[in-house]
Amino acid sequence: MAKEILFADLAQADTLPPLSKPPIDRAQLVRYAGASGDFNPLHYADEIGHLAGTGGVIAHGMLIMAFAGQAVTQWVPNRCLRRFAVRFVDITRLGDQITVSGRITETRLENGTGVVVGEMTAADQQGSIKLKGTFEATLPLQGAGL
């Protein structure tokens, strides 16, 4: 049984442990295209990238959001997640190495449960931001005694 995360564990302004992903390669984009069903050739065919003006293949924005989702569900248990929103800031290219960083921005009590609000950014190896987002989760105040 994984350790239960309680409201008190995530105090305001707490920096959350960053998630570092390996460099994105074409195989990952092809796999993600198949998994998600997004077969826009911009994500696997360089010539389409040139037509669209991106200079080549770019990663699916939703893959970067999925990386952010992986980070969020390492910070709070899946069942506690209530809301997860992102804004896509910039394109991500092959070879980019994404790190998702986050912090808690607000904690409050609501109907006997603890609500935590946090924000995250996904940036590449140069620190260039690809995505900014927020999340909200409800966490128990006390352990279930499992």
């Binding site: 992903k21 998600s36 989702g69």
Partner: protein, 146 residues
């Protein structure tokens, strides 16, 4: 040509999707997310879930494999695929999504704005399970550059 303003507050798509264990696993592997809640039913049950669960961005998979794909969306909204960007994405979670769940999704155009250099489309999709309960709501902003 349909006036895009006339599409506001109308249903753009209505589709169904049956959640499969293999699809959840494929999605987790494509993301490179090793959370066992997505692949190990025994672990998930130990943690108090019904079965393995869908990761936070699984909604995209429901849309694209459920029939509401990029090409269909471009046709419906008369978008130039090479000018389209995914601007923002939000998910609100109301219950777990597990294998065997039969989901029904309805996507509506909530707003359409001419922002000068671009057009902005705000879409909202509600996903209900076989019992009619809303399990997930997606809101996304799609940008078409002029």
């Amino acid at each position: 040509m349909t006036n895009r303003n006339e599409l506001v507050n109308t249903e753009l798509a209505h589709y169904t999707f049956t959640v499969e264990r293999g699809k959840i696993r494929e999605m987790a592997l494509a993301i490179g997310d090793d959370n066992p809640l997505y692949t190990n039913p025994d672990y998930a049950r130990e943690q108090g879930y019904r079965d393995v669960i869908a990761p936070p961005t699984f909604g995209i998979c429901i849309d694209l494999w459920g029939g509401h794909d990029f090409t269909a969306l471009c046709k419906k909204l008369q978008l130039n695929p090479l000018k389209v960007l995914h601007g923002e994405q939000e998910y609100r979670y109301y219950d777990d999504i597990c294998p065997g769940d039969q989901l029904e999704a309805v996507c509506r155009l909530k707003n359409y704005i001419d922002k000068g250099k671009m057009y902005l489309f705000c879409l909202e999709t509600e996903y209900r399970d076989q019992a009619g309960k809303t399990v997930l709501v997606s809101r996304c902003n799609i940008i078409e550059r002029k």
